[in-house]
């Protein structure tokens, strides 16, 4: 209820404002148009009150008639040619006759086609008399203008007897002294005494001549001024005229007589009515405008509401209204010249046909007439147009946002946002190609099928220009978009390579060891991403970001758990070592004890073996877990792979000699240099050889070979297993042994340690089984002596 009232109030206050401005504009416009041009604005109330006899038109008419009378009586062509009687309103047949007559009397010298160079020739006297007769016949019936013409004291022509009402004497001399009363209903009285003119309006004599010299500003253009004397020819002529205060229409044989005064008064009255209306309009407008100041808050709200409505309107529609409507209203009548042609051309362009164009013409004609007859509407529309544009610009910051083109573009791109980038780019490329084809065809067709020949050249030119601009604009936009995508692609590939390098942090980000650091890192990254706006690869970048984040946390998690594992194993092995120390020590004492029964000696021997094995296991477990977690300190140096194998074999020679297995070596002469930690690699091959010794078939051979192929040096250890090798078993698995049931021998970590250490040194550790043949290959990248490093761990 409240809001409804408020809305109504806003609407009313806006209407007050709007109407106020419109009415004021209409009033001012009307006054400006309807005011007689010879009157000043401050005389406006006077103009409204006065009758037509005060108008300049009336004065011109009267002086024209007087001239005609004088010219006829003087018996010659117009001497002064001042009024010439051309100011008659030529409405009817009667008026035409009068005009012809006047022309006949006055214009002889110009009969030959206005040829000023022709010698004067007078029309014959009888013809002249005929014209004069015709003239007087035409005006005689018009009682709106009473006249009497005297020459040499004798009444020549008259349609009223001025003597009867005591104004003139029989000879045509003016009788009245001081105030003069014209005949009833006739407010205007003129008397010409052969030299000067005397004029009475409503019984009051007017000052006709002013200072006695004629100037442009002077109201009356009549003979009698010092610089405009009447002349000798008219000295004997007396004229008296009276004009009706409110002229009526006089008919003669079903035909209207020439009654200019009637029509003059009529149009004067209309003009006065219009002026009155204009003044009322102005007054009402002013009042409303004042009121609108009192209700300006409501008006502002209404303006905002209007602006909101405008904001939803398409820019194209607004432009169409702004330019097309005035063109429609005024175009047909805006004048001549270029505008008119433009309108015509446009019209034909739009309409493609005469009929439709004609309709449009008619429509605009009637609209124009409508506007003319109701100025308020016209001014309101004009004001509304300007006001709405201003209001729109004032409240709606970015009016181009709400445009059909923009909407289509946005919808187009919004629809694309859901698509994968490749599809989007393909689509864009297709669109550009299509546009290019269309543009090419358009250019060709414009050249070949020039529609209307010469007169349409500029239309074609404008179309071509607009087409080119549009084409280039689209090309530019697509190009910009593609550049953007290319930049994002670069960013994407940079991030991918970062992740591949193991750099999971954002580029140049802070140290993100802690979870907190991680979080903030990601936050900043997110903010960074949002800066991309509506890029093609946004979603892909986002996904990559997720992967990076996930991977980072996974790697962190793994590192942490590995560290914890190593710590745990270190603690456990420490805790095992302490009691183990005691065990080993006391077993040692037992071993030294003499006089023990044989079976006890056996027990002690077993204890000794097992405690030694336990010791080895603890150390191995520790080593392998450290190697796996990458915590093993490495001392990388350049060493000879072949020598390493030989040294290891030499080191183990004693063991080998005791076993039933023989070693066959195939190691090339000359150094094969690799980059590794010698101590660790010794452990690797020691384990491999021990493995071979332990699990090889008795009497079989172990083949140790080293080959350098290209950049790779591969050392392989092949042995024939004494046990059947199970297929699909991972021997490098921790605690894996060829025979699950066997309990003697190593810790079961030999291969696992070998693999961990090899990989920690940057080598490659592979094993394979072929029937009972067990093959382990350790591969390292070869370093050229003194050459650049190839493959660094």
């Amino acid at each position: 209820m409240d809001t409804k009232w408020k809305n109504r109030k806003n609407t009313v206050s806006f209407l007050i404002f709007f109407l106020g401005i419109s009415l004021m504009a209409a009033g001012l416009g009307g006054i400006w148009r309807d005011k007689p041009s010879d009157r000043k604005l401050q005389e406006l109330p006077l103009i409204v009150e006065e009758n037509y006899q005060h108008s300049s038109r009336f004065r011109e008419y009267i002086s024209g008639v007087l001239e005609t009378f004088l010219a006829i009586e003087a018996g010659r062509d117009s001497r002064w040619t001042y009024g010439l009687g051309w100011n008659y309103d030529v409405y009817y047949e009667a008026d035409m006759e009068v005009t012809e007559a006047v022309e006949g009397v006055l214009m002889q010298q110009y009969q030959n086609d206005w040829d000023m160079g022709e010698p004067e020739h007078r029309i014959p006297e009888e013809e002249r008399e005929k014209y004069i007769q015709k003239y007087y016949d035409a005006i005689k019936g018009n009682k709106n203008l009473l006249y009497a013409v005297y020459a040499d004291g004798e009444q020549k022509h008259a349609n009223f007897d001025f003597a009867s009402c005591g104004i003139l004497s029989g000879e045509g001399n003016f009788l009245a002294k001081g105030s003069v009363t014209p005949p009833d209903g006739y407010g205007f009285l003129l008397y010409f005494d052969g030299e000067k003119v005397r004029i009475f309006q409503d019984g009051v004599e007017q000052n006709v001549y002013g200072d006695g010299y004629y100037q442009m500003e002077d109201q009356w253009y009549l003979p009698g001024y010092s610089n405009f004397p009447a002349g000798d020819e008219v000295k004997k002529i007396r004229v008296c005229m009276a004009a009706a205060r409110e002229p009526m229409m006089y008919m003669e044989q079903y035909q209207q007589v020439s009654d200019d005064l009637y029509w003059m008064a009529n149009s004067w009255k209309q003009r006065q009515d219009r002026l009155k209306r204009d003044i009322v309009c102005l007054g009402m407008g002013a009042v409303l405008f004042f009121l609108s100041f009192l209700t300006r808050r409501g008006r502002r709200e209404a303006e905002v509401a209007i602006a909101r409505f405008q904001g939803r309107m398409w820019l194209e529609f607004k432009l169409l209204l702004l330019f097309a409507l005035p063109l429609l209203l005024l175009g047909r009548h805006a004048g001549s010249g270029y505008g008119y042609e433009l309108w015509q051309e446009t019209e034909q362009m739009i309409a493609y046909g005469e009929e439709y164009g004609y309709t449009l013409n008619k429509l605009s004609y009637y609209l124009g007439e409508f506007v003319r007859s109701f100025p308020v509407v016209y001014w309101s529309l004009l004001f509304l147009g300007i006001y709405l544009v201003w209001n729109d610009l004032r409240y709606n910051k970015r009016i181009w946002r709400q445009s059909l083109t923009g909407k289509i573009l946005r919808k187009f791109s919004a629809r694309q946002m859901g698509w994968p980038p490749a599809r989007r780019m393909a689509r864009r490329t297709r669109a550009v190609f299509g546009l290019s084809v269309f543009y090419g065809l358009f250019m060709i067709s414009a050249r070949v099928l020039n529609p209307g020949g010469k007169q349409y050249i500029w239309v074609t030119a404008v179309l071509l220009f607009l087409g080119t601009v549009f084409f280039l604009a689209v090309e530019y936009l697509v190009g910009v978009k593609n550049m953007e995508t290319a930049r994002e692609m670069e960013e994407l590939s940079r991030r991918i390579s970062d992740i591949r390098r193991g750099d999971y942090g954002s580029g140049g980000g802070t140290d993100s060891g802690t979870e907190e650091g991680c979080e903030t890192d990601f936050g900043s990254e997110g903010a960074d991403l949002s800066g991309f706006g509506t890029g093609d690869l946004d979603s892909v970048l986002g996904q990559l970001e997720d992967i990076r984040h996930g991977m980072k946390s996974a790697v962190d998690e793994q590192m942490r758990s590995e560290r914890m594992k190593v710590e745990l194993i270190a603690n456990v092995s420490h805790d095992i070592k302490t009691p183990l120390t005691s065990i080993i020590s006391y077993v040692q004492f037992l071993k030294q004890e003499e006089n023990l029964p044989d079976h006890v000696t056996d027990y002690v021997k077993i204890l000794d073996e097992k405690s030694q094995r336990l010791k080895n296991m603890v150390q191995d477990v520790f080593a392998v877990s450290k190697a796996a977690s990458g915590e093993l300190p490495m001392h990388m140096e350049e060493l000879d792979f072949g020598r390493l194998l030989q040294q290891t074999l030499a080191d183990m020679e004693e063991q080998i000699g005791k076993s039933q297995v023989r070693f066959r070596m195939e190691i090339p002469d000359g150094p094969i240099l690799i980059m590794a930690d010698g101590q660790r690699m010794y452990r690797v091959f020691q384990n491999l050889f021990q493995n071979a010794l332990q699990y090889s078939l008795s009497g079989s051979r172990v083949y140790v070979s080293l080959k350098a192929e290209g950049n790779q040096a591969a050392a392989s250890v092949k042995n024939t297993s004494s046990q059947e090798l199970k297929k699909g078993m991972d021997f490098a698995e921790r605690f894996a042994r060829g025979d699950q049931s066997r309990t003697d021998g190593g810790s079961g970590l030999g291969l696992s340690i070998a693999q961990s250490f090899t990989e920690a040194c940057g080598g490659e550790f592979r094993w394979e089984t072929n029937a009972d043949l067990f093959v382990v290959t350790v591969t390292f990248p070869v370093r050229r002596p003194g050459g650049p490093e190839e493959g660094q761990a």
Partner: protein, 236 residues
């Protein structure tokens, strides 16, 4: 009774085991079960050598070593279940003379105790007036004139070939010799399958002069490169 050795460990069984071991070698053994106890005993008794565990209640081994070092210069051997290189370096830098990882080899431990005591007690004077033809490296002394190697002051019995190898190593401590070079310079022949021959001799030398031949301290293999005599920075 012989020299007095202090064994410090919070594990009583280990202390007992060590004391049995060392008493068997003829030493007098004093026992302590934490660092503070050890310091008390050291204040009251004349102790020639300390065997010190690291992880102990009240006062840990390394702190105790530092406290001892403030007053006395006796040999200290640190015993620890921590076998990492970093742990060893830490222990030695704190002032210990030796570092033995648990579980230790009883013979090795006994040998080390003996070695340290001998050098501390007997060789003190000899070391003071060092001779011109003597090359010293840790507990090894090589007299070039006589071509005799002394370990802890006692001459090591070496064969002619072994003496030549030791001669080569002792004159060039720290330098790495490939097997071929050793072979050429010792046997004075062209090297052929030298690795095994050299290794056999080196192994035998190690057995004669290393305290624990399986974990040699002096003659070491530089894997993939050659062999070298490790230069001992300590005990100079």
């Amino acid at each position: 009774m012989g020299e007095c050795v202090l064994v410090v460990d919070d594990d009583r069984e280990i202390v007992k085991a060590i004391s049995i071991l060392l008493e068997g070698e003829g030493y007098e053994v004093l026992k302590a079960y934490d660092g503070l106890q050890a310091l008390d005993i050291l204040a009251s008794r004349q102790v020639r050598l300390v065997l010190m565990d690291v992880m102990m209640p009240r006062l840990d081994g390394l702190s105790a070593v530092m406290r001892i070092r403030e007053k006395q210069n006796i040999p200290i051997i640190v015993l620890s279940a921590k076998s990492e290189d970093t742990d060893k370096v830490l222990g030695l830098s704190m002032g210990a003379d030796d570092y033995v990882a648990k579980p230790y080899n009883p013979q090795e431990l006994a040998a080390r105790v003996k070695s340290h005591l001998r050098r501390y007690t007997c060789l003190g004077d000899i070391n003071a007036g060092s001779r011109a033809d003597e090359i010293k490296n840790g507990r090894l002394v090589y007299r070039t004139q006589e071509r005799v190697l002394y370990a802890d002051g006692e001459p090591v019995k070496l064969t002619a070939t072994e003496t030549r190898i030791v001669d080569l190593f002792m004159r060039n401590p720290g330098r790495i010799f490939p097997a071929e070079e050793i072979y050429r310079r010792v046997w004075e022949e062209e090297a052929f399958s030298s690795e095994n021959t050299v290794m056999v001799h080196i192994r035998r030398i190690r057995e004669k002069l290393e305290l624990n031949p399986k974990e040699p301290e002096y003659i070491k293999v530089v894997w993939g490169i050659g062999y070298k005599m490790e230069k001992q920075e300590k005990h100079s």
